[in-house]
Symmetry: C2
Subunit: 264 residues, 2 copies
């Protein structure tokens, strides 16, 4: 049974201001909830329309059995998927020393929730531990982002901070003689496939329509682009540009793939 004020509380978490105030977010679906249970994230309460089994490590978590109709009333999904969990928003420290030893993503105002979720899933696949987002990037605990991560939210650390200040601090931390590599995806960049890619550094992905913001550009040490193999246009089409860009998440995937391919 789902108490009326409980349903109201869970629904209130659909708004960012309430998530911020309560320090809680909602995740749905068997796969994502199981991934969260096996991660360092703290799951507070689980609501399930079926018999949801907890492992021995999670016996302390409340599992509340509810009806499917009740799940529908608190779900953000068109087709609710058995289980909904209320989780604590984790707090990660930005550790410049650790970041200096890894490859990380920097998101400069990615606004589409599906793009952010997909980028987190890509980071997970390619073993990227941390994503640093501008404050204007869509909030990661937005239900649409959480669902698009397909569980990868439990394995990738997502930070929000002012990017120019972050870059300055990171640059200062870098020891003399060490590389401070910041790759920026830009249409006028060097051919990705021919650029010398380091195993450590930052890949900056700009906003879906405006690209990388001007206050971040001075920190870019290597502009890179994914070359287009678009067919030459003829006749009426000549002079008209063909494929103009790749989606931000698609570009992220191609770039991460190329960095990781070089590792071996």
């Amino acid at each position: 049974m789902l108490a009326k004020n409980e349903a109201k509380f869970i629904n209130s978490l659909k708004l960012k201001k309430n998530r911020d105030q309560e320090g809680l977010f909602v995740a749905e679906g068997v796969k994502i909830v199981n991934d969260l249970l096996h991660s360092g994230m703290k799951v507070k309460t689980i609501y399930s329309s079926r018999n949801f089994q907890l492992s021995i490590f999670n016996y302390h978590i409340d599992v509340i059995r509810i009806k499917e109709s009740e799940l529908k009333r608190i779900s953000s999904l068109n087709s609710p998927n058995e289980v909904l969990a209320v989780c604590e928003i984790p707090h990660y420290n930005l550790d410049h020393a650790i970041l200096g030893k890894q490859l990380s993503l920097v998101l400069d105002t990615i606004q589409d929730p599906g793009n952010l979720g997909t980028i987190i899933r890509i980071a997970d696949w390619f073993g990227i531990e941390s994503i640093i987002c501008s404050p204007e990037t869509v909030e990661v605990y937005n239900p649409k982002v959480i669902q698009a991560t397909m569980g990868s939210i439990s394995r990738v650390k997502v930070h929000y901070t002012e990017l120019p200040a972050f870059m300055e601090a990171q640059q200062k931390q870098t020891k003399r003689g060490e590389d401070f590599a910041v790759y920026g995806a830009a249409l006028d960049g060097e051919n990705l496939y021919e650029t010398d890619l380091k195993a450590k550094g930052f890949v900056v992905i700009g906003n879906e329509s405006r690209g990388i913001s001007s206050d971040l550009l001075p920190f870019i040490t290597h502009k890179i682009c994914i070359p287009s193999f678009s067919l030459p246009l003829t006749g009426l089409q000549a002079g008209i540009s063909s494929a103009e860009s790749l989606n931000a998440a698609i570009a992220t995937a191609v770039i991460c793939s190329e960095f990781r391919r070089r590792l071996k």
Copy 2:
């Protein structure tokens, strides 16, 4: 001014059965409509809430000036974007001889409209001319697909056909001694980065949850997978798989990028 029965007709094209019957589809937004005007596609009528300029090559096309409120009534978008065009559905021939000389994508029941649109945009970027879809793949003239292509629909040929019969016919066409290369994205495939990739052939992308269907598997000559660099899990997470898959469009992008990188 938008006549009432005109509005009704345009709205009827939101349904596949009406698109099929009329041989028409709807595209929206300045960028996409301009791309269509410069392609081989036939634009029938343009409805615009602003002063839409046609080039000298397109003076025969009707441009109907309508109010923003009228555009809203016929648009599929949350925020209508100035212009809506009614276009003829093109008919492409499946030419096995031409396909035998190119790299093409084969989509085995991609169901998400956003995924199909994004895959068409990826094909355009990487110079892939043809996409062959199973009949169960989401219809390309679905407004959500059209919008997700960002105009690439005007440059990539999308075919629908029974895939096993298509593969059989293509195989027969291939001359003795020539390669018939069919790459299938599969989790148990060979490392993409280490596979010998031909410049011509087919890349099969399977359904978002079920992968490549069993009746298509016999035609796959090379199973390939994008290796995961996901971090080794420890403690509570040990034994639990980490990132389980990449989204179908993301996998397509990484694979196309790797094929094209090898071209040079």
